[in-house]
């Protein structure tokens, strides 16, 4: 599978703390102006509180402007592409010219350490992506989304919502049919079903996204996918019929699967420096809980900033230059 290490936030550090620290860095370094943030879209599967949403928590932690539009998407593996679509839609439908898109996950605690199908994969991270209105009318991202809710039980945390609230019963650990130990409060993944879904559905989705964007598949310089594990991504590259070298598969082994954040982590880790000067044609694709699929064709690059920050832990949100 290819696991070396994974990054898991300490218990004091929430999804909003990871995001606010990152935004404070960008304010401090002058990449973003706090008083000019007019829209904040936060995508996550874990929340600091059930109410209010993460975007309001981040707004309060940072002291963002009162007229900043703040909204939340509850999303999983396809969350980055959903967030990007929402940001683009806001820009297209209003006078908002710049959206701060936050994808964040501190949800590794979903996984039970005794479940080798999920725990080794988990990772926590946050990403800030700034989506700005372009002066070029042809500058757009072509998105495709598919959902098959009838297969939702293949990747699910059964307990914790209104359908099955947490209880002593749901916390009981049992051995499942595959010999893994888990409770109903933990993430359950039918690995075989998810694997088959990805292999059958993603290659035609990529073809569809390319057709919609009116580009040839061979013109895509990089396939920036969600990162479940190296094995799956190698097989996926073979089925999409692209070289494995342009469909990166090295994120889970270095960082873990951070759900909504894997694509930004993938971008920063594999293309960070290059995207400061180049602007390659890329195809994003993601797949996961739902079961759901998303893809987008984009000319990505000429960025002002694209790199990693190490969060200091213990719920830190203030950035202090070292």
């Amino acid at each position: 599978m290819g696991f070396k290490e994974h990054r898991i936030a300490d218990p004091q550090t929430t999804p909003c703390d990871l995001a606010s620290y990152t935004l404070n860095y960008l304010f401090h370094e002058g990449y973003l102006e706090k008083d000019a943030v007019s829209a904040l879209v936060v995508v996550a599967q874990m929340a600091d509180h059930l109410t209010p949403g993460n975007s309001k928590v981040i707004h309060g932690q940072l002291g963002l402007p009162r007229d900043c539009f703040c909204t939340d998407l509850y999303e999983n593996c396809i969350g980055f592409i959903s967030g990007l679509y929402t940001a683009c839609s806001l820009i297209a439908a209003s006078d908002i010219e710049e959206v701060v898109l936050v994808t964040t996950d501190a949800g590794a605690c979903y996984a039970n350490k005794l479940d080798r199908n999920t725990y080794p994969l988990c990772g926590d991270a946050a990403a800030v992506t700034v989506v700005s209105k372009s002066a070029d009318i042809d500058d757009k991202i072509s998105f495709v989304f598919h959902t098959d809710g009838s297969r939702r039980e293949a990747l699910i945390v059964p307990a914790g919502g209104r359908r099955m609230p947490y209880s002593e019963e749901t916390a009981k650990v049992f051995q499942d049919e595959m010999g893994n130990y888990r409770s109903l409060n933990n993430m359950h993944m039918d690995g075989t079903a998810v694997f088959q879904f990805v292999m059958e559905e993603v290659p035609p989705l990529v073809e569809e996204a390319c057709r919609y964007a009116k580009v040839a598949k061979g013109d895509i310089r990089y396939h920036l996918t969600h990162q479940p594990n190296r094995f799956m991504l190698e097989k996926l590259a073979d089925l999409i019929d692209v070289p494995r070298s342009i469909l990166f598969n090295n994120i889970v082994e270095n960082f873990g699967n951070s759900s909504t954040v894997t694509i930004p982590v993938n971008i920063a880790f594999n293309l960070g420096e290059r995207l400061l000067t180049e602007r390659p044609l890329v195809c994003y694709s993601a797949f996961g809980a739902g079961l759901s699929l998303a893809a987008g064709v984009d000319r990505l690059g000429k960025l002002d900033f694209c790199k990693f920050l190490e969060h200091p832990g213990e719920g830190t949100i203030a950035y202090t230059a070292s």
Binding site: D190, G191, T192, F195, Q196, N229, E234, L239
Partner: protein
């Protein structure tokens, strides 16, 4: 070939007797994690590339089916798919 397959299976899951003739997947001898490991081992040992579309439970349910999968898979130097 079958002997080598049994050897690989025993390395992956030493606690089970794969020669009993049961359905390896249905009986829980191999979970999805084991199947991934098995695919890697088969590809390396037999210099084949197993298509993702062939990674379905029935192809790993018995030694006979695994051997059939090996025979139908593309014979390549293992590095070919790593372009």
């Amino acid at each position: 070939m079958e002997e080598k397959v049994f050897e690989i299976l025993k390395d992956i899951q030493p606690v089970y007797d794969f020669e009993e003739g049961v359905d390896f997947v249905e009986m829980g001898y191999l979970d999805s994690f084991d199947v991934v490991t098995l695919v890697g081992e088969l590809e390396e040992t037999f210099s084949i590339l197993i298509s993702a579309l062939d990674i379905v439970p029935e192809n790993f349910s018995s030694a006979k089916n695994i051997c059939a999968l090996i025979k139908k898979s593309k014979k390549v130097p293992i590095t070919e798919g790593m372009a």
